[in-house]
């Protein structure tokens, strides 16, 4: 994070923010991104509106400053230079910050939440390089272009996961999505599925296309427990006791598969994509999947 206390007011605070190196999360995202070859986005890095479109004859009312004098000097009429109108896509991210995301099945394995934030920021970096606008779906950071936006996102994602943690399981917030934008949901989707369904439906209604990436710890997949166990949710809100945890394994996995089927069906209905990423896999695999899932539609 930034080196000093974030006090945006005052010259000192701003200077510090300016002088601060990349936030750790952003730096990690940059490293990750350096491995991804650019697709169609890379050719337009010169920026939107730079591309020549046409010359047209000047009309009364046009400001004199817009007259292209070099073209006009070749003829008697005055011409204006018009550039291609290029509208950038807005991509919003919803990163689950609930307590469930703070789970890690083994020491040394990243938490699910860490992996989710890393993927979000890495993808945002790629998109910014492609000239898109990125932001957060909950409206904290409205979609904008430019590299500075990455800093804002990093700060917002990294700053206070506790403050954003709303209970054991996250509920996607799609209220602040601009119409026809893209959205990426990063969560374990272990909470009540109705909230996800409602959010996806709402977004789809507004023409928003999107991607769901379920991030799971391998332990959540394999359920390697045995013996008499009391399971508690991360926040402690839910509690379940069993005498022989090993007996539950098959049924737990069946339920997990069922949950995944339901999300896949939901995504298919809305024309979205659904993917699964495990925290023991390399982050790059998740990033490339996400990028691929987004790329055909983002232009």
């Amino acid at each position: 994070m930034t080196a000093g206390p974030p006090s945006p007011d005052g010259t000192r605070g701003r200077a510090q923010a300016l002088a601060a190196p990349l936030p750790p999360l952003l730096a990690e995202a940059d490293r990750l991104v350096a491995n991804v070859a650019f697709g169609e986005h890379g050719r337009r890095r010169a920026g939107q509106g730079d591309e020549f479109w046409q010359y047209r004859a000047a009309r009364p009312g046009d400001p004199a400053g817009r007259v292209d004098w070099r073209r006009s000097a070749r003829s008697d009429a005055h011409f204006l230079r018009e550039t291609e109108w290029q509208a950038a896509q807005s991509v919003a991210f919803w990163v689950d910050g609930a307590q469930a995301m703070a789970f890690s099945g083994r020491r040394g394995r990243p938490e699910k939440g860490d992996r989710a934030r890393l993927l979000a920021l890495a993808l945002a970096t790629l998109l910014i390089r492609g000239g898109e606008r990125v932001g957060l779906a909950d409206g904290l950071v409205t979609p904008r272009a430019g590299r500075l936006q990455l800093h804002r996102m990093a700060t917002a994602l990294d700053s206070a996961p506790e403050a954003r943690s709303d209970g054991d399981y996250g509920r996607p917030d799609a209220t602040a999505l601009p119409p026809h934008s893209r959205v990426v949901f990063l969560s374990d989707f272990l909470g009540p599925p109705e909230a996800v369904e409602r959010a996806v439906t709402t977004a789809a209604d507004r023409g928003v296309k999107g991607t769901l990436l379920q991030i799971l710890d391998p332990d959540e997949e394999a359920f390697p427990y045995d013996g008499r166990t009391v399971f508690e949710s991360m926040g402690g809100g839910l509690r379940f006791e069993t005498m022989r945890a090993g007996d539950l394994r098959a049924r737990y996995r069946a339920r997990l598969a069922e949950r995944r089927d339901r999300l896949t069906a939901l995504a298919a209905r809305a024309g979205w994509r659904f993917g699964v990423h495990h925290t023991d896999a390399a982050a790059l695999t998740g990033l490339t999947w996400l990028f691929g899932a987004l790329a055909p539609t983002v232009r």
């Binding site: 699910k112 272990l190 959540e220 427990y225 008499r228 009391v230 006791e241 022989r244 539950l248």
Partner: protein
Amino acid sequence: MAALAAIGFTAPWLLAALAALPVLWWLLRATPPAPVRRRFPGVALLLGLEDRRAESNRTPWWLLALRIAAAAALIVGFAGPVLNPDPRAGAPQDMPLLIVADASWASARDWPRRTDRIETLLADAARAGRPAAIVPLTDPPEGALPFRPAGDWREALPGIAPRPWAPRPDEVADWAGRLGDTSFETVWLSDGLARQGREALLDTFAARGPVTVMDSDRPVFALRPPRFEEGEVRLTALRSPAEAAGEVDLHVVARGADPAGVERELGAGTARFAPGEAEAETAIALQPELRNRATRFVIAGARSAGAVSLTDDALARRTVALLGARDGRERVELLSQTYYLRQALVPGADLIDGTLDDILLANPDVIILADIAQLAEIESDRLLEWVEAGGLLLRFAGPRLAASDVSRGAEDPLMPVRLRAGGRSIGGAMSWGEPRRLRPFGEDSPFQGLSIPDDVAVNSQVLAQPDPRLDERTIAALADGTPLVTQRHEGRGRIVLFHVTANAEWSTLPLSGLFVEMLERLAVATRPSAPEAEDLTGTTWEPAAGIDAFGAAGQPARTNGVVGEELAAAIPAGDVRRALPPGLYARQGREIALNVTGPDSVIAPADWPAGVPVEGLETARERPIAGPFLAGAFVLLLADILAVLWLSGRLGRASGAACIALALALAPVGGPAQAQDDTSDDRLALRATTEVVLAHVLTGDTRVDALARAGLRGLSRYLTRRSAVEPGAPIGVDIERDELAFFPFLYWPVTADQPLPSDAAYGRLNRYLRGGGLILFDTRDADIAELGMSAPAGRRLQEIARPLDVPPLEQIPEDHVLTRAFYLLQDFPGRHDGPVWVEAAPADAERAEGMPFRDLNDGVSPVIIGGNDWAAAWAVDEQGRPLRRVGRGAAGERQREIAIRFGINLIMHVLTGNYKSDQVHVPALLDRLGQ
């Protein structure tokens, strides 16, 4: 103590707790294993699932059984189970316990077992609260019965030791008379030998309570003193009991000091007992040299004073050189000057003849000059030197001596007194007097106590010049007071003159037995057999060495002298006692051994009356087995932990730690293996010989060894860089195991606690030094004590170097070849700068004409000794950086440089010898070449 078959318990009431085990079963059964609490986000998916089997909240039966077993083992363990409790259960518990031990030399053979047995008895008595007393019969107490609590006696038990004699019947009877009429139980630990007064004592005990006799089943062995017969040492071994015993081979060993002073085996023989025989003979053939060194004969493996026979003069045969007058005439044998001497000495001494030169080379104990008057000056000088070093010069008078001028005007250094001219003749045809008889020997004469036969008469003699000191030098005189034998001490030796001839010409003395006895007393001849009482009459003998009941040499148990008659009476049957302990007794250069087993000793097994219970010593030992029970409980609890972990699904993570704990608890601890096989020896030889290798002696101190290795590594590097010598990696040498011949140079850091090398290692080291090897001893202490005893490393160095073949040393002289073998040096510092010692130059080393150097010794100094901690100055790490700081700043670096130069000079000296010394001859060589 409650006894359950072979297991008893010290706290049996604790076993009542076993009754509580069913309750424990019920309690444990009701309590399921504690659940694991686990945070798990997937719990949302689990909600609503139900366990299919509910019975697992009961503890499984096998886990219960495990825990019950652990609890039972704990209870049994704390109840103090004892295996094989003492079976003497019928012993009366209300009487005091008297433990009588013979504690003689024969008990020493299995004394530890006897003390174990006593300890068991005492432990038993302590448990029963009975007072006890221990009475060694060889050392009966002053009072009657020292009854004390048995626990006190257990502490005093280590102080009770057997004595190298047998119980004296009179002492024992005396003590038994003081017993009074208290009743007690008696346990008698017999040594198994028949002895006078046994039955009476047994009756005394039986009258006061039950008696148990304990006796070992091991045979008693004894060894009679050696006899010298037909060039062999003959020994007789005894055994008891003999009747039922089979064929047994005993190894009889002669022990004595080797030339280095280390006691070792000089010879051995095997005595074979035929079945049922009580005696066995063996003969050991020993060279006279070895025979004289033998101090004791022992039965190998028998730890008992009875199986040790100390030797005295009887075996030690002196070398006597006989030198008679050379007259070149054929003479009748009986008139020869040396005939009677020869007859008297042959049984007891080894005679050598020859010229005085040859004789002195042989360094005999005694030189006899029979009527030899004048010696060449150089001869007499050498003879005097020999006398001063401890020789006995025995001279006899005769016509030549009487006619010569020897010791007339002034006392001759090789004569005890001055002589008057001529001599005198008594009782001859031309004289009036009668032949003179001998006056009885005086108090301080060595001949004191010898009886003088009537037929000894003296006709002629040489007369001593009256002198104030004549009286004290006279050790035998004629009846009229004229000296017959005079003696003078010279240095450590003696000069004795018989004022008569050694043949029968002047007196009848040589014809009598007195002559032989006088020679014996003078320690010229040695007694061929045990001394008779009259031989020792009137003499007093000082104890010189003692022997304990186990046969080990020690200080004499008695400090004041012993009258000869007593000694003579005790020797034949080995009648030793507290007042006359066995050992060596000495008087005026002669020694008499008083052994436990005399030449007439016999041993017979004790015969106990039928009514007395006789037990062996081998009752099964009481063994507390609480430990195994508690350990078993511990293991069961460990297994329980593992089982619980497994049941609760935590075994996966915890198994590693648990297995390690279990392995630590159960694994037997293996000793460090230090095996070295032949192939590695070959490898060492190959490594050491394919290139020049510097080696250091492994001291056992890891840090010192590592530093020595680093030091030699540094020196090797500097040598490679600066000279044509390119040594390989240094090798640490274990002098106990490795062959040293491969190494031209050994660096030996001396530590204060280094073990002394074994004999074999010393042999190798001496061979190495003689073969041209060089050892650099480094005490590493800056030589603060000047090689003295006050520094621990210096002391150790002295101890290590004592058996080494080290020549005389001197500090490195200015012109030593070490000062110019490669660099020109005058200092030889390491980390310190102290004196350095090398082999001293020969005394006749001379400086050649016009040369700055003396022509010094050939070859390489075998040792160089210093305390400069050279290895520390040479030491470099793997990258070649110095390891230790030397001195301070630039001066220190300079010192390091000089130290390195010294090292290079040293190796050059080692490898090229005195090559640089030969430069002395260069002018001569050039001259010879005609330049």
